[in-house]
C-alpha cells in the first residue's frame, strides 16, 4: 500500500515514462534502505529528493566501501594550526570578558535600567547627531553617480587600488592635517589605507619585524596590541613601565633599561610602539620627549611606530604634536618613523573600517602596499568618506563640537569620581579617564585589582578595564570610557560605584 502512492509520483516525475513500473519500485526500495542507513543525527541533513535516477543507484552501491574507508580513516579528528588552537581558547583577558558581558546585558535607561553600563569600549557616541544630519542632507548625492567620470557603479564596483583610492588619500591627508592643528601637512603618496587601524598595526609589524623579534611598548597600553601585534606575526611586546609618580609619562632611562635587558637575553628589538595621545592614560608626548625618542631610536637603529588614532580627541587646550611634525622640523632620519591613524575614534565610524599607515620609508610603503590586499577598505565606503571629509565646513563644525562635548563629559565624569574620593591621572585627550581605585581594593596587588574588577562587573554592573589588562605595573588603576554615555547616566554610574564602595567599607569594618 505504502509503495503505490510514491510509485505514481515517481512515474510522473523527472524519471518519466522510461522507467516503467518495476524499476521505480526497486529503486525506491533501495532509496528507503539508503535513507535508513545514512540518517545522520545532524538536523541539518535533508534527505535526497524522491526523484529516482540511475545515479542514485550507483551511489548506493558505493556506500559500503566508503563506510569502510571512514571507519578505517578518521578516529583522530583533523588538526587545525597551533595558532588557531590558541586563538579559539576562551578569552581570559578581563578586557574581552567585560566587553562580552556588557554586550550580553546592555544598560538602557528605559528598557534595561539594571543592565551592565559599558565603560570599557573607547567609542565616541557624542556627535552622532551631527553625522546623521550630514548623511540625511548629503548621502544621496554622495553615493549616486554623477556625470564626472567614474562615480557611477562601475567606478566603485571594479577593482580599486588595494591601498586606497587617491581621492580618499587626499581627503585623509587634509583631515589629518586639520586634526593635528594644521602644523604639519601629509603626503597622500606616503599613505597606505587599511580596513581599520587594527590591520594597519599588524601590517606594519609584518614589515618591520621577523618572528621572535620584539617591540618596546610603554605601559599601560591598549589591550588590543597583544592581539594585533603578536598573534600572527610572532612578535614579542616588551613592557616599559611608567608610573603614577611621573603621571605615567615615559622616560628614556626606563626605555634604555628595557632595551638592554631584552638584548641581553638574545632577543632583537625592532622598534618602539608609542600611543600618542596615550591609551589608556590620555596624556600627550611633548615635543622634547619626541625628539629624545628619535635620538634613542637612531642610537639603537630601531623603528618608531606612533599610533595617533586619538589625535582628534583632545579636549584640553594642550597642543598635540605629531611625530610627523617633529621629523619635519628637525633633522631626523625619517626612514624609521611610521604613523598609524584611523577614523574609528575621531570621526566615530569604527564600523566603516578606515585606517592607515603613514610612513616616510619607501621600502616599508612598497611592502605595505602589497600587504593591504588582505585588508582593503570597501569602495562604497571610500566614496562616502571622500564626500564627508571634503566638506570643510562640516568638519570644522564637527571637530569644534566634538572637542566641547568630550570635555564636558570628561569634566562631569571626573568630578563624579572625585566626589567618591577617586582621583584620575592628569590627561588631556582620549575618550576615557585613568582612575585610581586602589582605595577600593581589599588586598593591594593584581589579585585584589581583579577581584574589584569582578565585583564592579557582576555586582555594580559597570564594565571598566582593569590596569592589569593594560599591563600597568601599579595595581588599582582602571580605564573608564565616558563617551558612550549620556549625561544622565553619569549619576547612575557614580551611585553604583558608591554602593559597592560602601559595602566594602562596611565589610572591612
Amino acid at each position: 500500500m505504502r509503495l503505490v502512492v510514491p510509485l505514481q509520483g515517481v512515474v510522473q516525475g523527472r524519471g518519466g515514462l522510461i522507467f516503467g513500473s518495476l524499476i521505480p519500485c526497486a529503486l525506491f526500495y533501495f532509496l528507503q534502505l539508503y535513507l535508513k542507513r545514512h540518517r545522520s543525527p545532524n538536523s541539518r541533513s535533508n534527505p535526497p529528493s524522491p526523484s529516482a535516477s540511475a545515479q542514485n543507484l550507483a551511489e548506493l552501491t558505493r556506500t559500503s566501501s566508503r563506510s569502510n574507508l571512514l571507519s578505517r580513516g578518521s578516529i583522530v579528528p583533523v588538526l587545525i594550526s597551533s595558532l588557531a588552537t590558541s586563538i579559539s581558547k576562551p578569552n581570559d583577558s578581563p578586557y574581552y570578558i567585560g566587553l562580552d558581558k556588557a554586550s550580553e546585558d546592555p544598560y538602557d535607561r528605559i528598557d534595561n535600567p539594571d543592565g551592565v553600563i559599558q565603560l570599557g569600549l573607547s567609542e565616541n557616541r557624542l556627535c552622532f547627531d551631527l553625522i546623521e544630519k550630514w548623511m540625511l542632507e548629503n548621502l544621496k548625492d554622495s553615493m549616486r553617480g554623477r556625470e564626472e567620470g567614474d562615480l557611477s557603479i562601475s567606478g566603485i564596483a571594479s577593482y580599486q587600488p588595494l591601498d586606497g583610492t587617491m581621492e580618499l588619500k587626499m581627503a585623509m591627508a587634509g583631515f589629518m592635517s586639520r586634526v593635528m592643528g594644521g602644523a604639519v601637512s601629509f603626503e597622500p603618496s606616503q599613505m597606505v589605507l587599511t580596513a581599520g587601524a587594527t590591520p594597519a598595526i599588524e601590517t606594519l609589524c609584518f614589515c618591520l619585524a621577523d618572528h621572535g623579534n620584539a617591540f618596546l611598548v610603554p605601559t599601560p597600553y591598549y589591550p588590543g596590541f597583544d592581539r594585533d601585534m603578536k598573534w600572527r606575526t610572532g612578535v614579542e611586546l616588551i613592557p616599559v613601565h611608567c608610573r603614577n609618580t611621573d603621571n605615567f609619562m615615559l622616560s628614556i632611562s626606563a626605555l634604555n633599561q628595557a632595551f638592554n635587558q631584552t638584548r641581553k637575553r638574545g632577543t632583537k628589538i625592532r622598534g618602539i610602539l608609542l600611543s600618542n595621545p596615550a591609551n589608556p592614560v590620555g596624556n600627550l608626548l611633548s615635543r622634547e620627549m619626541l625628539c629624545d625618542l628619535l635620538y634613542f631610536a637612531r642610537e639603537k637603529n630601531i623603528h618608531i611606530i606612533s599610533d595617533e588614532i586619538f589625535a582628534g580627541s583632545i579636549y584640553e587646550n594642550e597642543e598635540f604634536v605629531s611625530i610627523a611634525d617633529v621629523v619635519d622640523s628637525e633633522d631626523f632620519d625619517k626612514s624609521r618613523v611610521h604613523i598609524v591613524y584611523g577614523l574609528s575614534k575621531d570621526l566615530s565610524l569604527p564600523g566603516f573600517r578606515v585606517g592607515m599607515i603613514y610612513s616616510f620609508n619607501e621600502n616599508v610603503l612598497a611592502a605595505a602596499r602589497k600587504l593591504t590586499r588582505f585588508s582593503s577598505i570597501s569602495a562604497p565606503t571610500q566614496r562616502l568618506l571622500v564626500s564627508i571629509l571634503s566638506d570643510a565646513r562640516f568638519i570644522e563644525e564637527y571637530m569644534a563640537t566634538n572637542k566641547k562635548r568630550i570635555r564636558n563629559m570628561h569634566d562631569l565624569f571626573v568630578a563624579g569620581l572625585e566626589g567618591l574620593g577617586i582621583r584620575c591621572a592628569d590627561s588631556s585627550a582620549g575618550l576615557y579617564c585613568w582612575a585610581d581605585m586602589s582605595k577600593l581594593i581589599l588586598t593591594y596587588g593584581e589579585k585584589g585589582e581583579l577581584e574589584l574588577w569582578e565585583k564592579l562587573l557582576h555586582v555594580a554592573k559597570i564594565n571598566i578595564t582593569p590596569g592589569s589588562a593594560c599591563h600597568c605595573i601599579e595595581p588599582g588603576w582602571f580605564r573608564c570610557c565616558f563617551t558612550t554615555l549620556d549625561k544622565e547616566d553619569i549619576p547612575v554610574v557614580m551611585e553604583r560605584i558608591r554602593k559597592l564602595a560602601d559595602t566594602r567599607a562596611a565589610s572591612r569594618g
Binding site: S45, G196, C207, R353, F374, A379, T381
Partner: protein
C-alpha cells in the same frame, strides 16, 4: 625566499623584502604594460587590451538599476548610528543570512547554508590567507592542483610561511585531478619533510574555466579523509557557470553522503562577490566551514579584515531581494555564456583551440603549436610577442604553474563587446601573419 636589500639605516623584516608576493612575474608585468598604455575605444585604439584580469563587467547595468530603485540600500534611516558603530566580527546577521541565501540560490537551492557558519572577510584573498593561517602551521604544506590562480602563491604562502606543493594535472584528461597525481604530490611533500595539512581546489577552476566533475570531487574528498587532511574548496566562480546543472559544490557531495562528521569537519568553502556579482571593489569574501573550531578561530582572526558595516548593510538589502538575485544570476549567466561563445568561436576561426570550458570569466587557450620551442622559455617569448606586438595582455600558463608549456588564460568579461571584437581581430591578424611565415 628572503633577498637582502642594502639597508643603510634601519632594517625591514623578511616578509617585507621577500619575493613571495610574486609581483615580479609575467602575470603582473603584463598588467604594468597595460597600465602604461591602456586601450581605449576612442582615445587610444592601439593601446594594450587587458585580457589578464578576471573581472566581470557584463552585468553592471543590473546593479545600477537596483541601486537606483532601492535608495534604502544606500541610506540607513534610523539605523545609521548602530551601523556606524558596528564592528563585531560576527558580522551583520542580516548580511550573513543574505549571503547564505545567495550561495544557496546559486546552487539551485540544492543545499542549505547555515548563516552562523559564515565568517566574513574583506575579499576572498583574505579568506584564503586566513584559512591557511587557521589550518596549517608555518612550514606545513597545502596541495594545490595545477594550473592554479597565480595569486595563490602570495595569498597562501607569503605571511603564513606555508608551502604549496603542486598536484600536477595534464591536458590529456583535460587537467582533471587523478588519484595518482594526488598520491604523487603527497609523497613529494613527504620527501621534502613537509607536513601536508590540506588540499585546496578551485571549483569552477581558475584558469581552466571548467567545473570539477562529481567523481573527481569524491576522489579528492576520499583522499582527504584517508590522509586526515583538510579540503578547501574555493567556489568563487560558482555563480559564473554557463549551465547551472553542471556545477557541483563540495557541499552537495557532503549532503549526498549524509553530512558525516568525519567528512564535514575537514571541509571549508571560500566564496566572494567579486566575480559572480562583479563587485571586487566592495571587498566581500567569506569562509564557510563545517568545523566549529575553524569557525571560531577564523572569526576572531577576521578582526584584521572586516567588511565595512555600510557595505554589509547595502548588500544585505540587495541580496535579500529575491527578485533581484534571481534575475541577476540568470541574466549574468546568459551574458557570460554568450561572451564565451563569441570568444571561443573567434579563436577557432583564427585557428586557436581552447579547452572546452563551462564556467568562469576566461578561456584556457592552447597556443603550443605556436611555440618556437616547447619550453617555458618558448612560452614566455610568445607571451612577450603577444604583449608587445599584438598588444594583448594574456596570462602565460607558467604563471599558473602549468606543467605543459603553451597554454594561456584569456579573460573575456572585463571589457565591452566592441573591445572583445577588436581583440579577436588582432588575434586573427596575428595568426594570419604567422601562417604566412
Amino acid at each position: 625566499m628572503a633577498i637582502e636589500i642594502e639597508q643603510p639605516s634601519v632594517g625591514l623584516s623578511r616578509v617585507a623584502v621577500s619575493k613571495t608576493h610574486g609581483e615580479d612575474s609575467p602575470y603582473f608585468a603584463g598588467w604594468k604594460a597595460y597600465d602604461e598604455n591602456p586601450y581605449d575605444g576612442e582615445s587610444n585604439r592601439s593601446g594594450v587590451i587587458q585580457m589578464g584580469l578576471a573581472e566581470n563587467q557584463v552585468s553592471f547595468d543590473l546593479l545600477e538599476k537596483y541601486l537606483e530603485e532601492h535608495p534604502e540600500a544606500s541610506c540607513w534611516g534610523p539605523g545609521f548610528k548602530e551601523n556606524a558603530l558596528f564592528q563585531d566580527y560576527h558580522g551583520l546577521k542580516s548580511f550573513r543570512q543574505a549571503m547564505a541565501n545567495f550561495m544557496e540560490k546559486i546552487r539551485g537551492g540544492s543545499v542549505k547554508f547555515d548563516p552562523n557558519r559564515i565568517v566574513l572577510t574583506a575579499g576572498a584573498t583574505a579568506a584564503n590567507e586566513l584559512l591557511t593561517f587557521v589550518l596549517a602551521n608555518p612550514g606545513d604544506a597545502l596541495l594545490v592542483p595545477t594550473p592554479y590562480y597565480p595569486g595563490f602563491d602570495r595569498d597562501l604562502m607569503w605571511r603564513t610561511g606555508v608551502k604549496i606543493v603542486p598536484i600536477h594535472c595534464e591536458s590529456s584528461n583535460n587537467f582533471q585531478v587523478t588519484a595518482g597525481a594526488l598520491e604523487s604530490a603527497y609523497e613529494h611533500a613527504e620527501s621534502m619533510n613537509l607536513n601536508v595539512r590540506g588540499v585546496l581546489i578551485t571549483n569552477p577552476s581558475n584558469p581552466l574555466g571548467l567545473t570539477i566533475q562529481r567523481c573527481t570531487l569524491e576522489l579528492i574528498l576520499d583522499f582527504a579523509v584517508r590522509k586526515n587532511v583538510h579540503l578547501v574548496s574555493d567556489e568563487i566562480y560558482s555563480g559564473s557557470t554557463f549551465s547551472p546543472s553542471e556545477f557541483i559544490s563540495i557541499a552537495e557531495i557532503l549532503r549526498d553522503r549524509g553530512y558525516i562528521k568525519a567528512e564535514t569537519e575537514r571541509v571549508h568553502i571560500v566564496y566572494s562577490l567579486s566575480k559572480d556579482l562583479g563587485l571586487p571593489g566592495f571587498r566581500v569574501g567569506t569562509v564557510y566551514s563545517y568545523n566549529d573550531s575553524v569557525v571560531t578561530a577564523a572569526r576572531r582572526m577576521s578582526s584584521f579584515t572586516l567588511i565595512s558595516s555600510q557595505t554589509q548593510h547595502l548588500l544585505a538589502c540587495m541580496l535579500s531581494n529575491e527578485e533581484f538575485t534571481g534575475n541577476y544570476i540568470k541574466t549574468n549567466r546568459e551574458r557570460l555564456t554568450k561572451r564565451h561563445e563569441t570568444i571561443v568561436e573567434g579563436l577557432r576561426i583564427a585557428g586557436i583551440e581552447c579547452l572546452k570550458g563551462n564556467a568562469g570569466l576566461f578561456c584556457w587557450m592552447n597556443l603550443s603549436p605556436l611555440l618556437a620551442e616547447p619550453t617555458r622559455g618558448g612560452e614566455l617569448a610568445l607571451w612577450k610577442t603577444i604583449l608587445t606586438e599584438v598588444r594583448l595582455n594574456i596570462s602565460p600558463g607558467s604563471s599558473c604553474h602549468c606543467s605543459e608549456p603553451g597554454w594561456f588564460r584569456v579573460c573575456f568579461a572585463n571589457m565591452s563587446e566592441q573591445t572583445l571584437g577588436v581583440a579577436l581581430e588582432r588575434i586573427h591578424k596575428f595568426m594570419g601573419q604567422r601562417k604566412n611565415h
